[in-house]
Symmetry: C2
Subunit: 309 residues, 2 copies
């Protein structure tokens, strides 16, 4: 929290709740910290290595969970790109302040120099939205949204819904990863990816395929120097940040993996967490908002606890 | 826009509009670029040097416009701090990813080492909200808001309103600058300032005094390495970024000023700009959002045009 004296900073991590927001939340007011401390092992799920990409940079690792239920074609193509080592040695090309960081092949537009796609597809059917089905998880938030009739979470992903149209889609929140495309709706292959680094650019929703979200390492992508060319592209090749590699976690030796657990978003614990963030009643806050926007809900991540012996 | 090939990037700066959103917008569909190109000199206003702070860093200048109408006590105290050269040689202390960058006195908590406040006040009456009055500019946005009954712009500042309570307040959008405080509501003096560098932390609205917004130079504050201590504080003194100086523009020799104009938010041109962003119909966009959130509205800034002779 913004405060004047460093020593008091820690007090502001407390986030007490007032009773209940989501239907399934029936616990007394608690802080987010208390909610997480009281969580049970079943409130968490381990990232599935077959559904997790590691974007390795010299500065560290970015862990991306793929949104298989919303972008299965893109997820499959990204697994192929990873298997082909397509991204290794490519670069971060663009950082536009309050918008996106984007990476891919600097020579993508040059016929003779562009990197080969190998077995990956050059085009994919658009996965900008999908049908609402009964098997699709959805924990609805109570406070509405400027852009969509309903918003909430689906297996840890922020999503929007239009029940009348029977459609649902991933929402452009901070940390969401998408597949850049040209003007044609089917031109996004996953060969060029972007991540949201600012205020939710929700105008992109339903216009481009989001493919997942960054679960760890956002600071590595958000703190890069902004590009000075149009749209934040780096003007000099020397400004580009090289990508060491992109791998599917399942194809990385187990000792080199980054095991992480994320809080399940279909649990009473998550509902209590949302409520603790809607109404913050610690000593610092004077007026609890009583509301929360989709992209303001934190999604806790942790290292798997060491089993007791 | 996120796209696959660099050469096509420019096409995405186009942002055609469909007819009309705000009551005063009665022009045909245009792109944002077309709206700005058609703007008249009276659509712009020069920053008032008595109301503009320069935060100078080794990497460049951050220009902050003070929100005199919403935080007059804080604005006055900040002018005093600038006059006292209070911030010169102090530092950026905290960068918390997707939240805030904060600067002030690293030794503020240590009695013997803390920098003297000079003629500046140590405490100020809270300026978290104010009464709605007729003389206060307000251009309402048409699409609602999760957190407040009404939102819009007041002399270039994003604001929220509760007409029933007769209150209005500055909103925590990207680039907004606030005065850190401790738990006491009157403990924010402006000696420690923060700027929003991520998704709108609207839960802070009405809990702390916003004092203005960054008009130019946000990238200098948003691209800094994130602190690894609690709340993003830098753990080692060596990580802190020194502040060269903070000055009121009026007290800087004219040759050293940064003359800027901002688009007036009480004009049909601004209404047309909002509309051009609610509905983007260039070749890239497939589904215009038809909506816009308060913190998604861009606020154009330009160098004053050279007068024709």
């Amino acid at each position: 929290m913004p405060i004047a004296v460093r020593r008091l900073a820690l007090a502001l991590m407390l986030a007490p709740a007032c009773p209940l927001a989501l239907a399934q939340a029936t616990m007394p007011a608690r802080t987010m910290q208390q909610v997480l401390e009281a969580s049970k092992p079943g409130d968490w799920r381990a990232l599935d290595p077959r559904n997790t990409l590691y974007l390795d940079l010299a500065a560290g690792r970015v862990v991306i969970e793929l949104a298989e239920a919303y972008a299965p074609l893109h997820a499959a193509n990204l697994r192929t790109f990873a298997r082909e080592h397509y991204f290794d040695g490519l670069a971060i090309l663009r950082v536009q302040d309050n918008f996106v960081t984007q990476w891919g092949d600097p020579d993508a537009g040059e016929k003779d120099k562009a990197r080969d796609f190998g077995k990956a597809s050059r085009t994919l059917a658009p996965e900008f939205e999908r049908g609402i089905t009964k098997d699709l998880a959805f924990t609805r938030l109570p406070d509405g949204d400027v852009y969509a009739p309903e918003v909430g979470f689906s297996d840890g992903m922020p999503v929007a819904r239009d029940p009348k149209a029977g459609k649902t889609w991933l929402a452009h929140c901070y940390g969401m990863v998408g597949a850049g495309r040209d003007n044609g709706a089917d031109t996004g292959s996953g060969a060029e990816l972007y991540v949201v680094i600012g205020q939710e650019p929700r105008q992109l929703d339903r216009n481009i395929a989001l493919v997942g979200r960054v679960v760890q390492g956002m600071e590595l992508l958000a703190s890069l120097p902004r590009g000075t060319g149009p749209l934040g592209f780096y003007e000099d090749a020397g400004q580009r940040l090289p990508i060491t590699s992109v791998r599917l976690a399942a194809e990385v030796p187990e000792a080199e993996r980054t095991p992480l657990e994320v809080l399940r978003t279909d649990t009473p614990t998550f509902a209590a967490l949302v409520e603790s963030r809607r109404n913050r009643r610690d000593d610092w806050y004077k007026v609890p908002a009583g509301k929360i926007g989709l992209c303001n809900v934190p999604l806790p991540v942790r290292k798997p606890p060491v089993p007791a012996h």
